[in-house]
């Protein structure tokens, strides 16, 4: 029998603590759309995705109403477009324009998969796609791009890292009149998951089924609220509270994913057990860390607090779902988190501390605004550092930095919506990494790769 206290707790979580399903993402394989003529290929992509995703948004809205739980985003991820470019040749931007048209036809918020996987090297289509990313992101508004440049098994492709520094800069330059938004839609990964429902890094891996539904949950506000009820408990109690809360949040994700999969007649993939913040007050991961007893996110102790949080979220969530995947863990996107924005503004949160935090959380240096005069080689070096953390620790890491082209220190970028806003963070721009990056080649896979 249902308990009144439990019912009111759920209603309060949704009403006052920003509990929501962050995204239902439909993953669609485009392998059967490849054609040696790029225009035919684009048409097949459009037809297939529109056919499979036609009911995604209405079904999402119906589930939202039935269960009374907000589903913030309905999205699509597709096979890395570099694989199609390999077959069709031609200008890959045509695919980006096709994806943009699809997003408008089916009404999704974002469509991810303008991607290439080059962790060991480039194959046909990869270079062309990577070079086209800045233009593709400038001429579309719903398309997201990602490039995997390293893995624990393969090491780090430093030629690709070198390229990506330039691509990130160029993506920002081409969109400098629109808050450099191009770079905010581009993620550089190490150990990219193939079933990630979150943008901008979502793509549909080649080992995935033809079509599936993945769900990303959220709920930093709920975790913080639960911790507020235990102001003096020790950290074991704190971990237990987070686990119990994560369990409840994830169960909701499992329910929504199962319902969506049944209604759409598409297999259910995974729940991504994530604490994904938004810029809204009361929906911040930084504030959870502060609730644990840190004066401000970024001070000493932040890495330990985040490690506890990240681990407890996974432990609580894993039993609540039949299949867990994606990024799963706590996100720390600076411009998307009210507490992180405040800590970055007051300079209590530095890029060095964020880098340390990425060793223990689920993603990487995410949504960080950097000076507009940052050389491409420095961006590449940031990517290499972050990829090294992911490679050695057998975890996903990513870099999504936005060079604030034409802005002066002290100014801010305002992306609006879930992408938020934030101040420019300080880098070691006066000390070059140029020579290191220009060497190129591959950083060999670490001993951790040799598990067999």
């Amino acid at each position: 029998m249902l308990n009144t206290k439990d019912i009111l707790e759920t209603v309060h979580m949704i009403d006052a603590e920003n509990l929501d399903i962050r995204t239902i993402t439909m993953g669609i394989s485009l392998l059967d759309c490849a054609d040696s003529d790029i225009d035919i290929s684009c048409r097949k992509v459009y037809d297939k995705v529109c056919r499979l995703a036609e009911r995604l948004v209405p079904v999402g809205c119906e589930i939202e109403k039935t269960y009374g739980i907000p589903i913030i985003n309905k999205r699509i991820s597709v096979t890395p477009i570099a694989l199609l470019t390999a077959v069709s040749g031609g200008n890959p931007v045509k695919y980006a324009q096709t994806l943009e048209k699809i997003s408008q036809t089916v009404g999704v918020n974002f469509i991810g998969g303008y991607s290439a996987l080059v962790h060991k090297g480039f194959s046909a289509g990869d270079r062309e796609l990577i070079e086209s990313i800045p233009e593709a992101l400038a001429c579309t508004s719903h398309v997201c791009s990602s490039v995997n440049i390293g893995s624990t098994k393969a090491g780090i492709n430093m030629d690709a890292v070198g390229m990506m520094g330039k691509v990130v800069r160029r993506a920002a330059e081409l969109t400098k009149d629109d808050n450099c938004i191009g770079a905010a839609k581009l993620v550089v990964f190490c150990n990219a998951p193939e079933d990630n429902p979150f943008m901008a890094g979502a793509f549909h891996g080649i080992g995935e089924p033809d079509c599936e539904i993945n769900v990303g949950v959220s709920g930093p506000g709920v975790v913080r609220h639960a911790l507020q009820k235990c102001p003096d408990g020790d950290l074991t109690e704190v971990a237990d509270i987070i686990k119990k809360t994560a369990f409840k949040i994830t169960r909701m994700g499992q329910l929504v994913g199962t319902a969506a999969s049944e209604k759409l007649g598409v297999p259910f993939g995974i729940v991504d057990l994530s604490l994904a913040p938004t810029p809204a007050v009361g929906d911040s991961v930084a504030h959870i860390l502060e609730e644990m007893g840190l004066e401000i996110c970024g001070t000493h102790g932040t890495t330990a607090a985040l490690a506890l949080l990240n681990d407890a979220v996974k432990k609580g969530g894993v039993m609540a779902s039949s299949h867990v995947g994606g990024l799963s863990g706590a996100f720390i996107p600076v411009s998307e988190d009210a507490g992180m924005i405040a800590a970055a503004r007051s300079k209590d949160l530095s890029i060095e501390k964020l880098e340390a935090m990425t060793a223990v959380c689920s993603v990487g240096l995410d949504m960080i605004i950097i000076p507009g005069d940052t050389p491409a080689s420095t961006i590449s070096a940031i990517i290499a550092d972050e990829a090294a953390i992911g490679m050695v620790n057998s975890k996903t890491t990513a870099v999504r930095v936005i060079p604030a082209i034409g802005k002066q220190p002290g100014e801010e970028l305002e992306f609006g919506g879930l992408l938020g806003s934030g101040p420019i963070m300080k880098l070691h721009n006066d000390r070059s990494s140029e020579k290191f990056i220009s060497r190129g080649g591959r950083i060999p896979a670490p001993m951790q790769a040799l598990k067999n």
Binding site: L2, T4, D6, L8, V11, D15, K65, Y67, G68
Partner: protein
Amino acid sequence: MKAVITVIGHDTVGILAKVSTRCAEYNANIIEVTQSVMEDLFAMVMLVDITKISCEFTDLQSALMDLGEQIGMKIHVMHEDIFNSMHHI
């Protein structure tokens, strides 16, 4: 199929009557009602059978939410599965 109706707000006369009248209009059968006062707020939870309702579930939801606005209460109508999945293993 059952749904849970929650009514939260400041206590006034006739809340139960108004909500149950609206349920009856749509043929939603009330199975159980509990009321409590939490942090100065009146909270009523109703379990209703919606298998024989005379409209779509979403119409019942809209009708009750509109009623909530009229009487100054926050009314949610949610499928019972969300509570079962979140609070029962």
